[in-house]
């Protein structure tokens, strides 16, 4: 029976090839789209893991000057004392106040414009960031507002090249700072920013000697890490209650701060990419269905063309089931062959995409198995109607057919 299916295909090579083309394109598209979707999903989840988990960011509120509202983080409302109070809340692992700014950093003849964050040693714990070389400045540096700095890898690359930066003196806004340590390499953030392009200095140093502060102890935001995912809702409520009390905000009034759940944002991003991957796959599978309809079309033509043959076969003893299987096998063979070529094409396409573009692709065994089972299913589904039509022919009429 199987040999007959191949013989029927061989008898009409061009037609068989064109029929398969629909399946080939459909399967290749599904494999490629799923591979791209999986690749994007993978890189997003890697970014999320690098960002650290169970994070909140407390931003100071919007400043308003004569009806002009300046946006979050502009009102000078958060202080170092707020951060200390938050750190004391139950369920909070650590809280790192941060005063960010930009500055030109100079070492010898090299200079580099980068972000300089005034913060505390907790900052590295909160953002799950390791130390590659040297050490973190400590609380006494924060208390004393000493001129020490930690560098991100990108800053090291741009200022020092291969030289060891620990112990060297750099200049930030023309003031000398001793490099005490280097952070480990971290890569891109979710939005594509280079997280290694940064310098950390004690928050007090930033306040008093680099950027100035509108009042004693002002910071722009506080990064808070909760003990566990389960503790997050309690921590969020705790921060809100604590700051409302500390900032004397009456019930119902607009608070002068915002608490953002970073994990939720990351999860939203992950979900969005998953949806995108699914959407790509769904669009690709439409072409698979179109390929299946192509097979059905050709099988119907083939049944009509071979009506007489069917009549002969019935006259010499083929039961209806034989005829049904003959045509069903033919369409299954067609679609599986198309699928085989499609898988090869899809895998090759994924390889080409990941080697010529920024997009990484991951071809999973699951998507290949999916492609094969869907193709087989389509062969059966779209082959069944023509095959049944063939098997229902009356032998006398089929024999009379010219």
């Amino acid at each position: 029976m199987l040999r007959e299916a191949f013989a029927a295909m061989a008898a009409n090579r061009m037609r068989a090839a064109l029929t398969m083309l629909g399946m080939v394109i459909g399967v290749a598209a599904v494999i490629l789209m799923l591979a791209i979707g999986r690749g994007v999903e993978d890189s997003v989840s890697r970014s999320i893991a690098s960002m650290g988990s169970n994070l909140f960011i407390v931003l100071s509120g919007s400043a308003a000057q004569g009806g002009l509202r300046m946006g979050s983080g502009n009102a000078p409302t958060l202080t170092l004392d707020d951060a200390a109070a938050i750190a004391g809340l139950p369920g909070v692992l650590a809280a790192a106040p941060t005063l960010p700014g930009s500055a030109q950093v100079v070492y010898g003849s090299a200079n580099w414009g980068t972000q300089v964050n005034g913060t505390t040693p907790e900052y590295l714990d909160v953002s799950s960031w390791g130390v590659a070389d040297g050490a973190v400045f400590d609380d006494s540096d924060v208390r004393g507002a000493t001129r020490v700095a930690m560098l991100g890898q990108t800053v090291v690359d741009n200022l020092f090249g291969a030289e060891d930066p620990v112990g060297r003196t750099i200049r930030i806004k023309n003031a000398p700072f001793v490099v005490v340590g280097v952070m480990s390499r971290r890569g891109q953030s979710l939005d594509g920013r280079d997280q290694d392009d940064t310098v950390l200095v004690p928050v007090t140093t930033a306040q008093r000697k680099l950027f100035g502060a509108q009042f004693q102890g002002m910071v722009r935001f506080i990064t808070v890490k909760a003990d566990s995912e389960a503790a997050m809702p309690g921590v969020e409520d705790g921060i809100n209650a604590l700051l409302q009390e500390r900032h004397r905000i009456r019930d119902g009034a607009d608070p002068d701060f915002t608490v953002r759940n970073m994990t939720a944002i990351a999860e939203t991003a992950a979900q969005a990419t998953r949806m995108m991957a699914l959407l790509l796959g769904a669009i690709a599978s439409i072409s698979l269905v179109v390929g299946g309809i192509g097979i059905m079309n050709i099988m119907l033509v083939s049944v009509t063309e071979r009506t007489r043959e069917i009549g002969i076969r019935m006259a010499i003893g083929a039961a209806r089931a034989h005829i049904l299987w003959q045509f069903l096998l033919e369409s299954i063979v067609l679609s599986l062959f198309g699928c085989l070529i499609g898988v090869a094409l899809g895998v090759a396409g994924a390889y080409v995409v990941s080697h010529t573009t920024e997009i990484t692709t991951i071809v999973s065994a699951g998507s290949i198995a999916l492609g094969f089972s869907v193709a087989g299913g389509i062969g059966v589904f779209f082959g069944f109607y023509p095959a049944r039509k063939a098997s229902r022919l009356q032998p006398i009429e089929a024999l009379r057919f010219q």
């Binding site: 013989a7 006259a315 003893g317 039961a319 024999l399």
Partner: protein, 237 residues
Amino acid sequence: MSATPVIECRRVAKDYVTDAGTAHVLQGIDLTVLPGEFVAIMGPSGSGKSTLMNILGCLDVPTSGQYLLAGADVGTLAEPALAHLRNQTIGFVFQGFNLLGRATLEDNVGLPLVYARVGAAERRARARAVLAKVGLAGYERSFPGKISGGQQQRVAIARALVTAPALVLADEPTGNLDTHTSAEIMELFAALNRDGMTLVVVTHEPDVAAWAGRLVQLRDGMVQYDGPVPAQFRKAS
């Protein structure tokens, strides 16, 4: 005669319902064919000989009456059983040869054995044996389009014989052949009959009927004559 008749028709009738009303194509045919007989069925167009042929070949079932094929009541059988009967008990030879163009001669001849679930090696051996019997040894790997009409009809006869059926039915077997080739084909049939094969041939040519041992003439769906082939038929050939 105690042998089971190969064909036994009792009051076989066939009606066709058309838009113009019911057409009584066969109106109660009684026909018995014993093993080893060579029967020619004749009749003008519309006499019902094609319909009778279809019923005898189990391609169609009678509206009423009983048809026993080698003792089995065809009317009580379902489709798969009819297919099996066509495969095992009957060999068909058609006017238009009806070979599969893209299969070799031995594959064409072996095709009925596919449906009888015979293995490939045995299929080929049996196909080659019957091809040799009809005088086509050496042509096993040829294709139907490459041989003459007479040779194609020999292949069709070989295909009819390959399952060793109880009955060979031939519908106008010489209709597409010239006189000389026709005689050769009929000689082959006669030789098969001498070996004991039961043959029923539908024809409208007296010279073809002349080869048979018995003549059945139909008119308007009824048997008009059933007896020995008249002498004037033989004179014509």
